[in-house]
Structure formats: C-alpha cells, structure tokens
Symmetry: D2
Subunit: 337 residues, 4 copies
C-alpha cells in the first residue's frame, strides 16, 4: 500500500501517519520529493483495516498495490485450472460448448433441443428454470419442474446440464438435478447467494455483472472459492455501455485480461452479449480467437415462439451450421470439441 501525501502536508501529519502504520506492526519507507512525500507501507495491509488513512490529515490518496482476491489470483496459482464437471472438463485444450433455450418451456422443447445440440457438438445443455426478468409480468420459469426435465435430458443424451440459480432455495433444488450451477449477471454481487454456491458441492459458472469491473468479478469468484468450492468458471456476457446497437457490449478484451490475472477458465456468451441472432456467429468465432475456453449459446426449436430471448436464439439448423464453422477456429486455438 502506498500513501501519497498532499503537497502541503505538515511534518507532524507525516509523522502521525508513520506512527500509526508502525503501531500496527508494519514497516514504513518514506520518499520525500520536491512536490510531495510518499509513504510506502510494507507488510500485511489487512492489519490496517479500520484505520481510514484516506481521511487522515495531510493524506491525498491511497494506492493499493496488491489485489484483494487470493484464491482466484494467477500470481499464486500460475497454471491454468482445469475444472472437472460431470463427464467432462473445462479448460486448456477443450472448447466447451453449452447450448440450449433461454427458458425451459416444456419437456418436449427441452428434449428436442438436447438431442439437436448434442448432435452439433455441444457437451452441455443449458436452460433456465428460474428466470430473472426485468418485469414481474414476464414469464418467470418452470422452477423445479424444469430441473426435472433437465435431469431427464441428461439421462437421455449424456449431456452435462447447467441451470441458473437465483436463491438459496433454488440451489438446494438444483444440486439434486444438474451438474453445474450458474450465477447470473444480476446476482454477481448477491453475496449471500455466492456464499451459498461456495458451500454447494458442484462447480459454478459465474457470469459477469452488467457493469462489474474485472476486479469485482474476480472478488465475486473469491467469495465462492473462499467457502471451499474452487471449481469456478467465469463467463463474459457483455457489459453495459452507452451504445445501444447491441443489447450489451461484448468486452472481448476481458478474455486476455482474465488470462493474465486468474487461473480460472473463461467462456463467452455471444447470445446475451448482443441480443441479435445475426451477430452470434461472428462473435462466437471471436471468442475462440481471443482464447476463450468455451461458449454459451442460446438455441430453441422455434425461436419465433420462445417465451424468453427469442430474438437472439438460433434454430437447430443455424446452430449446427455454426458449430461446423467453429471447428477450424478451435483447431487454430489448439482446442477440440
């Protein structure tokens, strides 16, 4: 931690800061410049919790030097993690494709989709049983009934299944039926839910919050990991910006940035990022080219009748064509699916 003093900070103010830091068992290195004095703090800064140095006399600002996330931090785990889920793994060498409807609408819709996406190369079936919708008057999901359909689809096809959870209660149900839990963008900083997911015994896909920084996202992963569940996969799904041509703005740079900061796998969801079917294919290619470990794509037997997110869903034919197009990109990236 570095404390930058104001140009007019008094000797007394500087002395007070250094005493306070030393009294907490830390060491101080002073750099006195012609304009400002800088106080370097050496040691475990958590000892200073509760000492709000920002508002001490003469202090201009505090600069953090180390990240607050540890378990998710590449500095302490330099090798990229491979996360085992159901009958497969997510991580280096593999391109994981998760596909399925935004919302589970019926047993038939889900089963049809499961067979279609498996045929095209997906290893995961996605589908929402608990839907976080902006308006209370939109379709809210089939809940546990939907989870049962997921389990049936898994048994019939051998696909791994993943489902978003939106409450402690949903987690308790979901762990009985699915291989992986998903925490959605709107709940990325629902810390109670993160802790609960950290106590579950199955892997978690953590989507980035609508306006979460990468740093906040990794701290959210840390919440899950610090409860004992280190099987976390991150999913970039677009961030909120001023541009309205797409539903969100896919922050594709997040893929290489995460690669440099964390050992956790990263997948990309081009369907939610754009909200427009025609943009899903180019952005899926991008994701692989950027180095992503996988993709999450919305597929529906009849998008024109989907109860949620129809406009961004692919038909079975479109999805099969897409996975065909993606194979040479996966090859170039040294990944198979």
């Amino acid at each position: 931690m570095i404390i930058i003093m104001k140009p007019d900070a008094s000797q007394e103010a500087i002395a007070k800061i250094t005493s306070l830091v030393e009294a907490n068992g830390l060491q101080v290195h002073l750099s006195r410049g012609s304009e400002v004095t800088i106080v370097g703090v050496v040691g475990d800064k958590t000892k200073l919790n509760g000492a709000n140095l920002e508002i001490a006399d003469g202090v201009e600002k505090i600069v953090a030097v180390t990240e607050s996330y540890k378990l998710a931090n590449k500095k302490f785990h330099p090798d990229d993690s491979v996360i085992r889920v159901g009958n497969t793994t997510i991580g280096p060498g593999t391109l994981t494709i998760m596909a399925g409807p935004c919302a589970i609408e019926s047993q038939d819709q889900l089963m049809q989709t499961a067979f279609a996406v498996k045929k095209a190369g997906a290893t995961f079936l996605r589908g929402g049983a608990y839907k976080p919708r902006t308006s209370p008057y939109s379709f809210q999901g089939l809940e546990e009934e939907g989870l049962r359909y997921m389990k049936e689809a898994r048994e019939a096809t051998g696909l791994n299944v993943i489902c978003e959870v939106t409450s402690q209660h949903a987690i308790e149900s979901a762990v009985k039926y699915v291989d992986m839990l998903q925490i959605g963008a709107r709940n990325m900083q629902n810390f109670e839910l993160l802790k609960e997911a950290g106590r579950a015994h199955i892997p978690v896909l953590l989507k980035r919050g609508l306006s979460a920084t990468i740093d906040e996202w990794l701290n959210a992963a840390e919440y899950i990991m610090s409860e004992g569940n280190e099987n976390v996969v991150l999913c970039e799904r677009g961030i909120r910006t001023y541009e309205t041509a797409t539903r969100n703005t896919l922050d594709i740079s997040a893929v290489p940035v995460l690669r440099s900061r964390t050992h956790l796998p990263v997948i990309v969801d081009p369907s939610h990022a754009t909200g427009v079917r025609a943009y899903v294919a180019p952005l899926a290619r991008c994701a692989i080219a950027a180095g992503a470990d996988g993709l999450m794509i919305e597929v529906h037997p009849n998008p024109a009748c989907a109860l949620s997110d129809g406009p961004q869903s692919l038909t079975f034919e479109q999805f099969e064509q897409l996975t065909g197009e993606l194979r040479p990109y996966a090859d170039l990236a040294g990944r198979s699916f």
Copy 2:
C-alpha cells in the same frame, strides 16, 4: 406497440405479420410510406407474449409504446404518494433525513450516533447489520446482534430505524426489529429478494442498481408492489460511469425524471454517490434543490476508525453543521424537518 418493417419487406411478409397480430385478438393500423411500412398494434400487447415479432420476416424493429410497470406508474396514480413509516411519513412537504453509520460496529457506537443524529434533525437512524462487501475478506456485519442494537436505539431515541437486507433470512429477522427495509444497489435486480420484500409488512427503501436505468428501477419497484407491498421509496445513490473522480456519478436528473414517471417518493444518498466527505454537503443541498423527498447520510462517531466507508462519513459536528445549512434549502422547497 409499433412494428417497423424493413424497406424491402415483401407484401407477403407484411400480410403475415398483420394476420398474426389479428389472430391474437389485436387490431392493426397500417401506414405505408415511400420508404417503409409501419404496423401499429392496438390493444393489450401481453396477448402477443411468445410471438417474437422481432425475428419475423421483414421486421426491422419493434417500438414499445407503454411502460411495463403499472403500479409504480404516475399515469395511473397521478398524485404523489405519501408513505407512512413508523411514527412519520415520507413524501410531499417533508424532508426526511436518514443518518447513521455504514456498518453497525457496537452498541455504544450506534447509540451515540442515534442521539447525535436525532439532535441534528434526523428522523431515521440508518445502519448496516448485513454488509455486502466487494471482497469476502472485508468486515461482513454484526447480523442479528446489530438489529437488536437498532431496536434499542429506536426505543431510546424515538427515531425510526432502517436496515439493509441481503437475503430472505435477513428479511425474516429484520422485520422484528426495524421500521423499514432497505434493498441495496447490488440487489436491485435480485428478484427473489424483491418478491420477499413485497411480502413483508413494512415499507421498503429501494436503492438504484449500479448501472440500472430508471425504467429497470421502476420495474424493480413493481416487483415489490405486485406482491402487495405498495410502500416503496426510491433512493438515488449514484450510477457507474467512466468518471473516477467520485466513487459513482450522482444522477441528480433522476429526481425530476422520477417525479414525472412515478408517484413514489425519492430520496438521495450523497455519501455513497461520491465516496468523499467533502462533497456530501454540496450534493445534499443539490438533492433538496432538485426536489428530493429526503436524504440518507453516513455519520460515524469517529470516521477515521470506521470499519466500512469511513472516508465518506461525517462526524457528529459535521452532520450538525450540515443540517443547519440545509434548513433554508428545505424552506425554499416547501419542506420541513
């Protein structure tokens, strides 16, 4: 709802859209221009749920004409609401001041603060018992013990008390101790929590999400109201933008915008909006000048030692000076406190 067709939409495509709309019991008004054809849809558009017109052949885009929130909508409730909470009301004519520490740290800290803020004019004591923190390694709150201190402070001072809730479990505890629940920014689209708050029998303060649009915020209020709890107060607390000079960017325009769209009261939190103590006073004056119904301000007996948000907290003396400064602004706005 208005359907704008592509310039090259075929007669057949237009006919298909109009048949689909009419088959759902709605009326169609066609406007054929030299460049584009527009299909006006008259009637209850929820009948079209599940028909994803955006991806029908020949459709360029869909424009919504009416808002999806109803109970919160000023169009259907033109008079501004007055919300009764504990021994007071929030709404026209009153300037409600909520003050207290970010986190409840001890009985003594809370009780001291309660007496100090009451003396200076506050009618609500705020204080966090469940703290949503970015890092899992930061102080997480005293939980139910903190709620008990709130109740004691209420009994000792006659202040109304408000506390943030972050889970169903926290709501169940909080309703036994406090007068008003607070839903924080990070949970504004935690729809399960909103529904739970809608089933509670005490009023709810709903903070704006970090990057929520005003429309999404009013839909979040609608989630609470549609469960039967119409006693909702909104709190603007700054939005996320590219500017880093302040912790968030206070969207002061939200006050008059909300006034034109909803009948619910609106208060402003200048402490979280800026994250800097020196900016709290000018923005508190602004909030009143913009027409806000109240303020939420962080006050701490010793900000330099606060376990959370010390840098933005006022001392007792600073808070008393502030409320003194605010009185003439309240007078100009026709409000008293």
Copy 3:
C-alpha cells in the same frame, strides 16, 4: 511517480530500473515488501519522457503522483480566479446567467431574445452562429451574419455576447464581434482549436467533452492557458452514460470536484445536459446549490419553431419565471445577479 514491480521481478530488473531513473537525474527510494517492491521516483518526472517504464522488465504498473496540468491547478493558485469578460466578471460572489437561442436564426429572433433575457436578469446573450450538428443535413448556422447580429444585440442591450467557434476561421471572425469564445463539447479535444483559442485575446468558455474525465478537461484548459490566455471558464453540460431518460447525464458532482482541483470558475448548462425543458428549472437550482458560478440556458421566442434544440428551450415567460425562482438560491449561495 511510483513504479510498482511485479512480485517475481528479479533483482537485476529492479537494479536496471533504478539505474535508468538515476541516469536521468532523478532520485530513487526503494521499498521492498514481502510481496512486492516499490520504486519511488523523486524529482521532475518530465526528465523521464521517452523512457517507457511500463514495459521495462519486471514492472507491474506506474502510478502518477502529480497532475499534468499546472496553470489550471489549484495547488499552485489556491485562490479562486475572477475572470473579467466585457463589462462584468465571472467568479466568486456573482451568479452569471448566459441565455439565448441554441442557433441564431434571424436578426429579429436574436434581438427579441436579447431584450427578454436581459429583462429577466441575464448578463450574457448566447447564440450559435456555427452549429456542430450530428447530421450534415441539419441546419449549420448563419456564420458571420449571425455574429453581426450578436454585435448589434450587444450594442442595443449592453449584454455581453458569447458564441461557439468550431474552426480557426471562426475564431478569427468571432473575436471581432463577441466578448467571449465558446469551445463546444465535441471540440474539447480538438487541440489545434484549443491552441488557437489560447492565442485569442478574449476569454474562453470551455465545455466538457461528451465523455471527458475531469482530468482531461483540465488538461484541455491547460492547452488554452499555456498559449497565454488564462481567462478560461469551465462549463459542465452533461456526460454520456448508459441512461437514456435524459439526453446526457448532468455530472453535478463535477462542480465540487473542480472547486477542489482548479481555481477556474465553473458554470452549468442544464439545457444541453437534459434535453428536456421540464428538467431545466430543477437542475438550474441544483447547479447553484452545488456551488456553480453561473448558468447557461437556452431561450427562444418560439421553441416550437426553433431550428435547433427546440425541445429543451424555454419561452421568455418560462425563463423569467425561472430567474425569479433562482434568486433566493443565489442569495443562499452568497451570489448576486
């Protein structure tokens, strides 16, 4: 300047950095922590221009300690500046009101408006002769003819006049007719124009760029000042965010932030910030409450027929009512108009 080394930086890398810094005539203070080593650089950092320390071996990041703007910086000019313009001053004690049409449309329109805004308390007439419009097919302004009308209005009413300039050529014309030049948001980083304005002999109003940080804005002011023209006034006019309820988001916090960083006066333009007539009055009150030195407001004899920005313009009656409402706020702020 502070150089933060990577956790795994070698002794050799650290030694290379310190040698490089010392070779440029600067001093080094090393802080070796258990996790990272920090290199404090003491002295004039411009000596290091051209040494890209960010990419030297072992460097994690560079933290700037001092601002790059000097003439605009409050640290070196602690007293707030008073800028003399025409027959008046902008700064402490005064509330400067600039009013007039977005675009000058005719002699008659401008002259009528000049008399009306003067009567209501304005001391400046604003009006656009060169209009930066998003589409090339929108009205582009009367150019020099408009400037002549400005001068006539000034002679008839005694108002000071201000006009936006968009090119070197426009500056050459404008200085012959007006009291103050305006640099618009879209040109805030048109550095050639800034330098040209810095060589003009009349004061400059510098609007904030659509997505400029406060730091970039002050650097833009520095461009003008470093050419010899220190008579710069800043104008907050809303920034671009994800929220679409208003045309831009008025960053009202910028007023107190600027007050702490610069000695230059700050005015606020609520008309462009919101784009909606009904929000102009509440935000004008806010601006005064936040500590602004003045306001810029669009007024038009007949907003329904304005060639530019009609929807946000006030009629003469609305403007007169507004200035009446603002007087007690100006009194509270210790300003007169």
Copy 4:
C-alpha cells in the same frame, strides 16, 4: 416518423398535430388504441424541420423510422464497397494491414520501421506527424518534416502511407505527401475538419470517437461523403466505458453491426483499444474472426524509447510473429495479405 401521443392527449391536440403534418405536405395515419394514440407520418420528414413536435401539446415522444445518413447507408448501396488507395484496395477479399509508429520521431526510425513492416506483410505504413495529446506538455509531433519522411519511406518501400490530420492546415500539407488521411477519435465530431476532408481528393480513414454511437459515427462519415469524397474507411479503436483494465473497451460487435448498416469497409485498431502490448495479438485475431477488412497496429523499433504510446507498441520481431499467426485466420475469413 411516428408520433406517440400522451394517454391524456385531447382530441384537439391530436387534430392540431395532424393538421400541422398535413400542412407540410405529408400524410398521416392514425392508430387509436385504448391507452394511446399513435400518429404515423408518411413522406419526407425533412419537410418538418423546424417544427418541434416533441413539445407540441399532447405529444409523448417521437420515434425516428429512417436513418439520417444516406450515402453511407447499406439500404441504398447493398454491395460492400471496395476503396482504392494508392496501389491497393481495402474491402472484401483483402486483409489490409497498416503498421508503424504512433509518432514519427526521426527519418531513421520511420525508414527502419517501414522496411520491417513491409517484410512482415503490411501494405500501409502508419505514423503520426500531428499528435493530439491529452497534455500540452507531451510531444506534439514533427509536423510537415514528418510528412516528408513518410513520402520518402513510401518511395523506398512501395508501401502506401497514412497520416492523421488535425486541422485544415494539416490536410493541405498531408495531401501532398500521403495516400490516405486519418481523422482521429478526438476529431470524429470536428465537423469542420470532416467537411475539409470531404473536399480532399484522397481516401479517408475515420476512427470512431471515444464515446460515439455507431449511428453518430456513420453520420460523421456522411459529412465527408456529402462533400464529394465517398472513399471512407471506418476504424474501430475502442470506446470509453467504466472498465479500466484496458485503456478503452474494444467494441468488437461494431464490426458485424457496421456490416449490416453500411457498405463502407471496417478495420480494427487493437493497439489503441487496449493500450497493452500483450493484448494486441489476441484482439488482432478477433478482429479477423469478426469479419474486419483490416488492422492498424503500432510497431516501433524500440518501444521502450517511443515518444508516444510505447507500452502498446510491438517490436519488429513481435510484429512479424503476429502476422505469421494471423495468416491462417485470414485464410478462414477468405482474405489475403
């Protein structure tokens, strides 16, 4: 154009609107719903310029149906354009690689770079002679001397050369030395400069503004085209968002969005978008996968000593390695270089 009336709009207000529209020679189609009335306007809406319908009695909002850009609009030019520049073309089938230093520093630096980038596959040499810098105290460029070095490099290598212009004066000089003008992000809405570039007789590369929407960007292109110069190429270089992990956020979705809206070629600048050397390669691959027509990449003989943007510049070796990596991606995209 569609006019949406307020729910409580009177018959008189509706009649007044329809009369006004018809009086301007346009046709009206009325749709009366149970909640709102919608007025469809058929015909050339420019006839309504100066009639500010937004503020007419009873009007809720106006929805535009057609884009304001025409020459740049794919609707009127469905085939993708091929732009001829110097000895090559930009557009379908070609992957154009522009490479070179951010700033031209010396004849030697530029000539060395020219030979290196040509060897690696670039067909354009980029280099800044006029540098728009945030601070007036940073290096501002060699100006006309730099342009001369560009011309020499062009003659020695056969590369096409491109240079940013920041003023009318710079355009007048540049057209004598270079093959293509570049308008930078900070000048994207410097409309005087756009018009001047529209009167030049060489092609123009138009970078996206820091916070420009795609619609504003295409309108900026329209400014150039409507002056007679239809040889415009667009360059995505990252937009400003709240995320600070990268210098800007590369909006990779802009590539397919532009493809659907305009016939103009699109290239991507991963160097400015990220500001970090390590992220240039993954994002260059992305750009090709998304369908871009080319890349602009910063290359410097010795990035550690670059006077501008060193941290994001590649060395000659890194650049050669990158173009090697990009060839199979270009092949997949059906493009050669």
